[in-house]
Amino acid sequence: MTIKVNGAAQEIETGLSVADLLVRNKVEQPEMVSVHLNGEFVQRNRYGITALKENDEIDFLYFMGGGA
């Protein structure tokens, strides 16, 4: 199925959870990342039980933004 990860389309197998995707995508510093699924914050303790569906949009965000 197709989902969007940080704005880019990605094909993944069905039945994956947010926790699975963090591992599959080798997300850096997972302890520092904030996960948003379809614009809503996902609590860390729900990563393992939050299943991904077709057309989901998931963002992995960090708190460092900005610059001059």
Binding site: N6, E28, Q29, M32, F60, L61, Y62, F63, G66, G67
Partner: protein, 408 residues
């Protein structure tokens, strides 16, 4: 693991390429990227990369991580001073027309920030007697955003009954913000007492004994940001990380109060000996307070560690034997106070607290000098008051200096 073990062995987020045991000082303004795509992703917050030191820096980040590791907090932001920590926090959680509840016994510069700087921009400050939590509830309305207090006020040395304040804050879904400068980290776990946000001047105990100026904002992750109308949109998107995201991607970034990497390095090293210095300075303070209480030239001594203090019970309950390293005492007049200060030979006449050196100050003519006499009375800062910030010297030398300055 104990406090000091956690402070000394806090892990790095990334392994140092040279195996350095201390996080090196990354004294660089900017950090480069391999590709345009990478820098775009970093700017959008989609990659954990440092870009520009005003916003984040590896050495500053290590200090933040170390405090997070020690405290078990959700998130930590290091800033340029304790005042920057307070200012950034209020600018994040409140907007024009909102109000916060505090006491007139707040630190003089904090009072000035609230009344003179943020007041004209539309933040209303409501003053309660925080030693009587029943005085808080009548002040709360639908624009109240937070209760702000200092764990031990400076220089009145009033000790907050934190559990009672927390109960009021919880009942009304208000944010509870504690300034823990006088009792940081090692002294108690603010989260266990219901504090949502801790702000502190790391200039004092954290820095290793007044080596550098800095401030810390600690988010315990206990507040539901959906209760704050200003932050409801962010709360849906960032959940418990609302405050830190709003700070890092807006308020802290835009106001520019960043901590220098050099200061972060010294404060990170300072954390490792905080407990040792805190124990010694508190032990010294108790001994000096007991000496002053016996001296007939001293009208009264204020130190929560003394059984005679009205705050002894609550201080002991929260802080145990460590009631801070700040004490005050009164002489008969301002003239007597100045004479005492001028006769000191070892103790330094200087404004700061938790230096390794013992420091003496006349608060009424210095930190509170900008306020009229009547307001100073309301703020609990009489002309007859001397403040001592006790260091880690051999205590008999400090007592000898006080004795000779009181004798003549």
């Amino acid at each position: 693991m104990g406090f000091t073990t956690r402070a000394i062995h806090a892990p790095f987020l990334r392994k140092d390429p040279h195996g350095s045991l201390h996080m090196p000082i990354y004294e660089s303004v900017s950090f480069e990227f391999e590709t345009a795509e990478e820098i775009e992703e970093a700017f959008l917050g989609k990659r954990p990369r440092h870009m520009y030191t005003r916003i984040s820096n590896p050495t500053v980040e290590h200090l933040e991580q170390k405090i997070k590791h020690i405290s078990g907090a959700l998130a930590v932001v290091a800033v340029s001073s304790g005042m920057a920590a307070i200012a950034d926090t209020f600018l994040t959680v409140a907007r024009q027309g909102d109000n916060v509840i505090t006491t007139r016994y707040v630190f003089g510069n904090t009072y000035s920030l609230l009344e003179k700087t943020l007041g004209p921009w539309g933040l209303e400050v409501r003053y309660a007697d925080l030693s009587r939590p029943d005085t808080i509830e009548p002040l709360i309305n639908d624009r109240t955003r937070a209760i702000f207090f200092e764990t031990i006020t400076n220089p009145q040395l009033e000790v907050a009954d934190i559990r009672a304040l927390s109960a009021v804050a919880r009942k009304h879904r208000l944010l509870l913000i504690a300034d823990t400068t006088v009792t940081p980290l090692y002294f108690f776990s603010s989260r266990d007492y219901g504090v949502d946000i801790e702000v502190l001047s790391s200039t004092k105990l954290v820095s290793g004994g007044a080596t550098t100026v800095g401030g810390i904002i600690i988010d315990n992750g206990t507040y539901d940001w959906g209760h704050n109308p200003k932050l409801q949109q962010e709360a849906r998107r960032y959940g418990p990380f609302t405050l830190v995201t709003k700070l890092k991607r807006e308020v802290f970034r835009n106001t520019g109060g960043c901590l220098s990497p050099h200061s972060a390095y010294l404060q990170s090293v300072g954390l490792e000996t905080l407990a040792l210095r805190a124990d010694k300075s508190c032990e010294n303070t108790t001994a000096i307070a007991e000496y002053l209480a016996r001296n007939p030239k001293v009208k009264c001594v204020n130190y929560p560690g003394l059984e005679a203090s009205p705050y002894h019970g609550v201080a002991k309950d929260i802080f145990g034997q460590r009631c801070g390293a700040l004490l005050t005492f009164e002489l008969s007049s301002k003239k007597e106070c100045f004479s005492f200060l001028n006769k000191l030979k070892l103790i330094r006449r200087a404004t700061n607290i938790n230096d390794n050196k013992t420091l003496a100050l006349h608060p009424s003519s210095t930190i509170f000098g900008e306020y009229p006499q009547e307001l100073k009375r309301q703020m609990g800062v009489p002309d007859t008051l001397i403040r001592l910030s006790i260091g880690i010297e051999d205590v008999e030398d400090v007592i000898a200096d006080i004795a000779q300055a009181l004798e003549h």
